[in-house]
Each structure stands twice: as structure tokens, then as C-alpha cells.
Amino acid sequence: MRNAFAAAITELAAQDERIVLLSGDIGNRLFDKFRERFPDRFYNCGVAEANMTGMAAGLALSGLRPFTYTITPFATTRVIEQIRVDICYHNVPVVIVGTGSGLSYASLGPTHHSCEDVGILRCFPNLTVLCPADSAEVGPALEAALTLPGPAYIRLGKKGEPVVHESRPTFEIGKGIVMREGTDVCLLGMGTLVSVALAAAQELEHQGLSARVVSMHTVKPLDESLLADAFDRFQAVAVVEEHSVIGGLGSAVAEWLVRRDGLQPPLVACGTPDAFISEAGSQQWMRQQCGLTGPAVAAKILARLGKSP
């Protein structure tokens, strides 16, 4: 996904001379093409994310379209006050890009994990929160963010994520993308876990349940009409995200759900636990520990529906 980001931002910068890229001493060689083509619009801001984020606000206040880019915890939770005050309170069109989100940097330990970022950032007024599912959604997400009058946060994986779109998808902020249709249960995948939701749908099919899968790339604003339809039509709705069960898409849907009238089918929340994962391990191993695999998600949904696999 980071390669897709580098390619997309370079292409967009050729079309839009307001784009400025600020990097927090990361992406060695990744932005060589960008730097070569737009030397006055790339700044390596060093290991100084607070300054980088504040400068982005200053650039935006002057009419430019800055992007900040570094590993997710350093682009987000490290500088939460700069995001809140400099970017969101000023309501300026800065795009904050976190790379290696969730457990992408599993082996680097909890300092490099980010399973709380969405929960914190979606509290902030004016901020749009986007979690593209794969490299095919990255470019469209950037383009969509550039149409906003205010700030956006884009949560990326790292590299080599499964590609879930065969071609460039239609990407509209606040509108989930239906990946496959189904009639019994609805799985809402956030970001790179759309691939896991698709795998879970396969498992469920083996168990005789037909599953719809949606890429809920926009966590804020929520696609309320899609949610209303999902909770009206399906036996259960499941959220699958590489983010804490506190604060992420599952929480956002739950908040929406309890304000809704009437009886609702169950919401099944699949995310990372309310805990730091301090053991060493690969992203795949950590996902297994968290129940974030196709079979585990399918089993959780089946159990919630009282069906044994």
C-alpha cells in the first residue's frame, strides 16, 4: 500500500501544484520520484512529528494541500494535540497518512502497533477518517480526500497486502463498497481486514450461510444508509478490523446502533483486544491470537447465531 501511496501522490502532485509532501524521516527511496519531480514540494521533517504536523497546518492555512506521512503511531497518537488543535480546530485541509497501521509492524512490538488511532481520531470534529482496503483503494482515497474542504486521516497498511479489487473501484467518501453480495449475514471490513472478511465469507458459505462483504473505507462519516439496510436485512452484522474493539469501526457502528429505534440483529465485533500485544510475532500470528482470520471470524458469527460450525 505504501508503494501505491507513493505512486498516487506523485501522480496527483503533477496535476495539483498545491500538494506538498512532508515525511517524518521514513520512506527511504520511496519518494525518490516525487523528490526528483517536485523538489520544492517534498520535505523530510526529521524525527520531529509535532513540528511536521504543525507545519502542515501552516502550509494549509496558506492555501496548499499538505500530506504528512510516517508510521501510524508517530503520525497520529504521538502528535494527537497537533492534530486536534493545529489541524482539526483550524479545520484546514491537511491529509494525515499513517503507514503500517494496525499490526502491520507486528514484529516491531507495541511501540509500532496502532490499534487505537481510529478510536482517538474519530472524536475530533472536522476530521474525515479513511481506511482503504488495498492498494487499489489508495489512489481513489487520496483523490477523494483532496476534494474535502477540511482535514482527513488515511490509514494504510504496509506492503504486500492482498488485493481485493480486480480493478480501480469507485470510491466515494462515506459510501461503503460492496465486495460481494449475500443474504444471511453482512460483514463490514475496515481497511486491510476486508480480505479477512472475504475469507470469513468463504468459510460461512461452507456452513450454508450467504455473506455480504463491504469495504467500510470511511469510518467517519459512517455510511448510515448502508448500516440501516444491513441491520434491517441480515441475521447478523459483523465488523472486522485490525483495531481495538474499543473505539474502532465496531464501536462507531455500535454507537450508531444504540441510537436507532427497534429491535436489531446482533452486532459481532472482531478486532484487537483491549491490550498491548508485547510478545514477538508475525502479523499473521497476531491476527490468529486476536481471532482475526477468516475461520475465526466465521466461527464467531456462527456462535452468535447459535449455529455450531
Binding site: Y43, G58, L61
Partner: protein, 276 residues
Amino acid sequence: MMNVPKLTAIAARIRARVVEMSHAAETPHLGSSLSCVDLLVATYWGPLRVDPAHPLDPNRDRFILSKGHAATALYVTLAEKGFFDPALLDTYDTDGSALPEHPGLQCVPGVEAATGSLGHGLPIALGMALAARIQKRPARQFVLMSDGECEEGSVWEAAMFAPAQKLDSVVVMIDYNKWQATGRSDEIMALAPLAEKWRAFGWDACEVDGHDMAAVLAAVSREPDGSGRPRVIVAHTVKGKGVSFMEDDNNWHYRIPTADEVRKARVELGQPEVRA
């Protein structure tokens, strides 16, 4: 550019109004507001190229009050400059007013950044400086910070970045009144020697008496020296400056003046007429 006695008179008028506003709205930070008035006046009536008739002119210089708790000093300065009707000052900190205790972005014309949390103004100004360079605009950026504010890590992140990019359009003024909210700023943190710290970070640093209008005006008006170094003016000031019973008394970080104290302060400032 106006002459020094006229600027000194403007500063006295601003101080008197600032004292009144603190009393009327019962808001703190009076000492911090009074200590930086001369820096504001020297900048606004000196080198700062802003036009109240065109407050959003993209080529304008930017002034950022990074020590947002001195909002009254900024508000009165902007009103004096003609950015908005001075009658609006009477609404300061009242319900629904455009003038809160910390300034919001464009809450009135002329306010270039929302401040109040310390350590944010300089990074924002550096972004504006980069933007001016990219857009090939002549704008300069003036940032007024407090000494206590220099304890924030973000200030030193920015301090390291600006010289690396040779952002010599930036001028930082530090209102070095030697006090922060609860004590001496040189005792709570090892702030001194402050100018040397900035110099070590690659800045063109100078020190001035922050109440010597001619000296401040000269320091803030100096053009970049061609070295690419951004400029920092460490202005030695007195908290509560201009009112004898407030000067260098840190109780006035939070104390609210009584009506009688307002009258005494106005007399000392040569503005004896008390507003209704």
C-alpha cells in the same frame, strides 16, 4: 513607520484597555499580556506588512501570537490597527462573543492562528514560511512566544527545522518576562541561557530590552542578513509592565484587578479617563 514617542503612546493606550478588559471580563493572564505589548506595537507599527482593508491578502506578512493567553493584547492591537470595530472589545469573553480568552483562527480579522496551547505557533509559522517559499510570495512570519513556552518540545523541533531549511523569513520574539504560571521560568526549567540555546540551534539571536521601543523596533525591523538563519529576538521584559503594583509580581498571572486598581493603573499609564 511612526516615531518612537507615538508608538510608546499607543502602547500605553493598549495597556490601559487590556487592564480594563481583564477587570470587566474577570479574566487572568494580565501580567503576561502587559509584558508583550511593546513587542506587539513595534511589530504591528513597524515591519509587519498587513492591511486591515485586505486582511487575507495572500502576500501579507503573518503575525502569530503563540502565547495565546495574551489574547487581550492582540485583540486591542488589532482594534487599534483598524482590523475591527473597537466596540467589539466590550464583548470580550461574554457569552457568544467572537473574542474568547484564547484567540481562534480569524475569530476577528487579523488573527492568523488559533493559539492557547503553547508550542504550536512556531511550527505553524514555519509551514507558512515554507508555503511562501513554494508560492514565491514575499511574506514574512513573526511569532511571539513566551519564555515558559520554550519548555515545550515542539518549539525545539521547530527550532532545529527552520535553520536546516534556511527559513530566514521567520522572526521569533520571546517575551522573556522570567515568570511562568507558578514560578520563575529559569528555576522550573533550565531555560537560561536562552539566546545561546537558540544560537546553538542555528538561529541569528539577539537580546534586547523588550520595553525600549526604539531597540525593539530596530531589532524586529532588521532584514535577514543573507546567511539563511532565521531570527530570534530574546526580549527581556517585565511581567505586568506599565503598572507599578503589577510589575514583576507573579500574582498577576491570575489576579483580576478591582475597579480601584483599574483606575490607578490608568493614571499610571497616562490614560486617566475611565471608560463607562
